[in-house]
Point group: C2
């Protein structure tokens, strides 16, 4: 299983953004749409062995954690941004009344929303996956020996905060796909293709 | 210089598609938007050493060749699909009256439209670049020795036709990023990051 986790510090946590202006009204939920595209989609196919956590921390009701669970996902994920943004909107709508921190609401089979925090999700992920923090100053990915379940944490276009980085210290290995600062969706596309080429147990 | 060429057999060649339904009305111009995103964008940056040719072959006026020339490009390329689709729409609008096969119209500095064919563009590219055809059955990219100007040809979600492949035979080396069939935008993201890691003359 491959898990991709992105923390989006400005992403709207209410379904009140405009599909016709995602960059301007949603706190850059378009970034999350492209992230999902890279995590799950093949040409005419879908990666069933992938889980994605979108951690939305923008106004007005942070945090909201949206989980896409590949093996169970029954709703169609299309490659275009707009249709993916509609799914995120639907999940935020389903999560509007949520009060309990640990409760997850099923939006569709395989698509869930909760009030889980970044820290909650990292702790949960550590239970059965090795954790990597994708960062340009990490160890080159070709030199990392991957095995079993792997999970990757990425920042959005603004990166993780110093507090988040401090939290990951010692529990996540820093891994790099290159010295430049790449868009999250490009990094995920690279990691997926790279992992396909190495034999995993 | 890196050149990326994509042939989109169904992409509309008239600016009459809907920005609110790219997959349904444009012959999948959304694929081209993500292709441009992967070819040019870095996190908070832009690759000046990139040229993209979009070759649109859908109805009603094929072919239309749209060229994005990194070193000269003055119009802002944003990461989201919708704003990129607007640029393509603008280029198609500017190319509406074009009759001459060889004439290129400047839409903005660095953005051009013409009636050039796939074969025209390949021949032009060969004059100063080595040509590679990205295909899952090609030589693994790690085993190719790149140097100088490089150009990559890709098919859209339906792939190149048998005739196009026959035309490329002998003039383009088949290169692969993996055994799976990947989305064009993911392949371009991979190739860009891969090329960044090797020293080019």
């Amino acid at each position: 299983m491959r898990t991709f986790i992105i923390k989006a510090n400005k992403a709207r946590t209410s379904p009140d953004f405009k599909l016709s202006d995602l960059p301007g009204t949603s706190g850059r939920i378009d970034v999350l749409c492209r992230f999902l595209n890279s995590a799950f989609l093949l040409s005419h196919g879908f990666r069933k062995n992938v889980r994605v956590w979108l951690l939305l921390y923008g106004p007005p009701n942070p945090p909201k954690a949206i989980r896409f669970e590949g093996p169970q996902l029954k709703v169609r994920l299309n490659p275009d941004e707009r249709s993916t943004a509609k799914l995120i909107m639907k999940a935020l709508k389903a999560g509007e009344g949520l009060k309990e921190p640990g409760k997850e609401v099923e939006v569709y089979p395989g698509l869930y929303v909760s009030n889980r925090t970044f820290e909650d999700v990292i702790r949960l992920t550590l239970k059965n996956s090795r954790l990597y923090y994708l960062h340009e100053e990490g160890k080159p990915i070709e030199r990392v020996s991957f095995g079993g379940n792997v999970a990757f944490v990425l920042g959005d276009h603004e990166g993780l905060s110093r507090e988040d980085e401090a939290f990951l210290e010692g529990i996540a290995e820093k891994v790099s796909v290159g010295k430049k600062s790449y868009l999250a969706s490009h990094v995920v596309a690279y990691v997926n293709i790279f992992l396909d080429s190495i034999p995993l147990p």
